[in-house]
């Protein structure tokens, strides 16, 4: 090859070395890999509530952040609600979108692919006759979810498809949505 090419390492703001280091450390110490995530929700009125998020358990001990986070939720005016915040359903779609984009960034970084922009549009279809108890054969949740990525990156279409596929393979929220899981509720 005649032209000398300066290869610049991809920088998507992901510390791949640290992630790989953590992966190796947790492989050696499986109990440290057991994490528990939490959200604590306070009801205001109607459908309006606020979840506060701070501590979690991981690496064998309680972890706290300097500042916590609040996520409010409500229902829209269409349902005679106060519309103070997004519906829980939209928060689920946002969680899926964020989980996948984070995965895309990490995997692209690991594969040496520079991302210029990533935008993802998520839609979930729902037949309201499920949640409203009109038709017992209709499920409450989404009947279909569509995820559409718009990615500008220094990579071929096939490489981008590979990154997107891998981000789904390793996404926690994608797994939660596509597989059944047990939920156990108690009253304190």
């Amino acid at each position: 090859m005649k032209t000398a090419t300066l290869t610049k390492a991809a920088d998507n703001g992901v510390n791949v070395e640290a992630l790989l280091g953590a992966r190796e450390a947790l492989k050696q110490a499986p109990p440290a890999a057991q994490f528990t995530w939490r959200a604590n929700c306070q009801w205001f009125e109607g459908a309006h509530s606020r979840s506060t998020i701070n501590g979690y358990f991981g690496l064998g001990e309680e972890q706290t952040r300097e500042t916590g986070f609040d996520i409010e939720s409500d229902h829209p005016a269409l349902f005679a609600a106060t519309d103070n915040a997004a519906t829980p359903l939209e928060i689920v779609l946002a969680a899926l979108a964020s989980c996948l984009t984070g995965g895309v960034a990490s995997i692209a970084q690991h594969r040496g692919v520079q991302l210029n922009s990533v935008h993802v549009a998520v839609e979930g279809d729902m037949d309201m006759s499920g949640v409203l108890g009109i038709d017992p054969d209709v499920r409450n949740g989404f009947s279909a979810i569509r995820v559409k990525f718009h990615i500008d990156a220094d990579a071929s279409a096939t490489e981008i498809a590979g990154i997107v596929a891998q981000s789904q393979k390793r996404s926690a929220v994608y797994d939660i949505i596509t597989n059944p899981g047990n939920v156990r509720t108690t009253i304190a």
């Binding site: 498809a161 596929a165 393979k169 994608y174």
Partner: protein, 410 residues
């Protein structure tokens, strides 16, 4: 107590290959076999199965393929006949009808307890293979009692199963072939598709295994593989003797495709909603392999390679694959678990297992004088293929011989 220098457990391809190598080196040994020579091939394969490797690769110890159809695919009975020829030509020291109950370490060597008495040996080679038990998920126990459950190790032919619909779980080589066989027998089949390694049988005029050999994929030693754990866990490729069989062609036959089977609850089977991505990953990975082959041919300017073939079509899927099936209500009468296999070393009483119960070894060397063969990527990708056993046996026999020499010198 009978003493011998080495004991080989299992008289299949790996065990006989090792026996052959030890005979060449004049190492006194005995091969213990629970049933007959090539027992799994004789009794634990279905009737219509053809080998997944072309005939030229199907060497048995001491006998390369010399038949008229090196590119063809022999039936299992053809392979069994070759084992019988091999037995007629070479006098292997096999003790058939002998089941190993335990292997324990002694100060020097090992004690092997069998149902026919005990032996002591300096070295033990575990050649019982990677497929002793079907890996059936634990939730299988909760299936309705009147549904017949089977696995590729027990299933022989469609008439083994009752009339009615059948759920085939797993879409690697066994699942694809058995889904087709059952569908063609008139049983409506639903195929649950999990992670799989898609591969076309032929590409650019050659068998894919021949290409993999040429591009060096099959000759990478285990110690040079960056993420060996992952590679050893990979599902085996969807290679079958028939080049047209895949998830697309099964659907044209009327097979219904659903996602990975994730549970059974109250007679209802549940499937993952990730089918589209599972198939996208398999298609992308196949295309990367074919890209590597294309790049290799361009680089080497193979005059004899036909121009780029059309690639296998991307996997087509229904818009809304079903997530739940009420098995009894819809008339399902059988479930075939083609979900892979696991080896069984429960008779080895020694601390050589990791936290997940998997045997730990370094390219087939478990401990001093203790060897294992025939596991996925034991030394090479070909280690689980018929022709891979000979090379592994050669290397491990050399290691064993050196070990004996160092003991004598000490």
């Amino acid at each position: 107590m009978r003493r011998t220098t080495a004991v080989i457990i299992g008289a299949g391809q790996s065990g006989l290959a090792m026996s052959f190598e030890l005979m060449q080196r004049g190492i006194d040994h005995i091969v213990l076999e629970r049933g007959e020579v090539a027992n799994s091939w004789r009794y634990e394969r279905w009737d219509s199965l053809k080998l997944l490797t072309p005939n030229r690769m199907n060497t048995v110890p001491g006998i390369p393929y010399d038949g008229p159809d090196p590119d063809g695919f022999m039936s299992v009975s053809g392979l069994v006949a070759r084992f019988d020829t091999c037995l007629a030509r070479t006098s292997f020291p096999v003790k058939t009808g002998t089941t190993v109950l335990s292997v324990v370490r002694l100060d020097r060597g090992y004690r092997i307890q069998t149902d026919q008495g005990a032996l002591e040996a300096e070295a033990v080679v575990m050649a019982t293979g990677a497929c002793n038990h079907p890996k059936v998920p634990t939730f299988a126990q909760t299936a309705p009692g009147d549904i017949v459950q089977t696995s590729p190790l027990r299933y022989k032919r469609p008439s083994d199963l009752p009339e009615g619909k059948s759920l085939v779980v797993g879409a690697s080589a066994s699942g694809l072939q058995l889904a087709r066989e059952l569908q063609l027998s008139g049983r409506q089949v639903t195929l649950a598709v999990g992670n799989h390694t898609r591969m076309p049988r032929r590409y650019r005029g050659r068998d894919i295994l021949e290409w993999m050999g040429r591009i060096g994929v099959t000759s990478t030693l285990y110690s040079d593989v960056p993420d060996l754990d992952r590679v050893r866990r990979l599902p085996s490729p969807t290679l079958t003797a028939d080049e047209t069989l895949d998830i697309n062609t099964l659907q044209t036959l009327g097979v219904e495709v659903v996602g990975r089977c994730v549970g059974l609850e109250g007679g209802e089977a549940h499937f993952a909603g990730s089918l589209a991505n599972t198939c996208a990953l398999a298609d992308l990975k196949m295309d990367r392999l074919l890209d590597t082959i294309d790049a290799f041919t361009t680089q080497k300017e193979f005059g004899d390679s036909p121009s780029i073939d059309a690639r296998p079509a991307p996997t087509q899927l229904p818009d809304d694959p079903r997530l739940r099936i009420d098995l009894a209500r819809e008339g399902y009468t059988s479930i075939l678990w083609a979900t892979g296999f696991a080896p069984d070393f429960s008779w080895l009483r020694a601390p050589h297992f990791d936290t997940k119960g998997r045997l730990m070894h370094d390219g087939g060397i478990v401990a001093k004088g203790l060897y294992v063969m025939g596991l996925p990527y034991l030394r090479y990708r070909r280690s689980t293929l018929l022709y891979g056993a000979n090379d592994d046996a050669n290397v491990l026999a050399n290691h064993m011989q050196l070990g004996f020499k160092s003991v004598c010198a000490a």
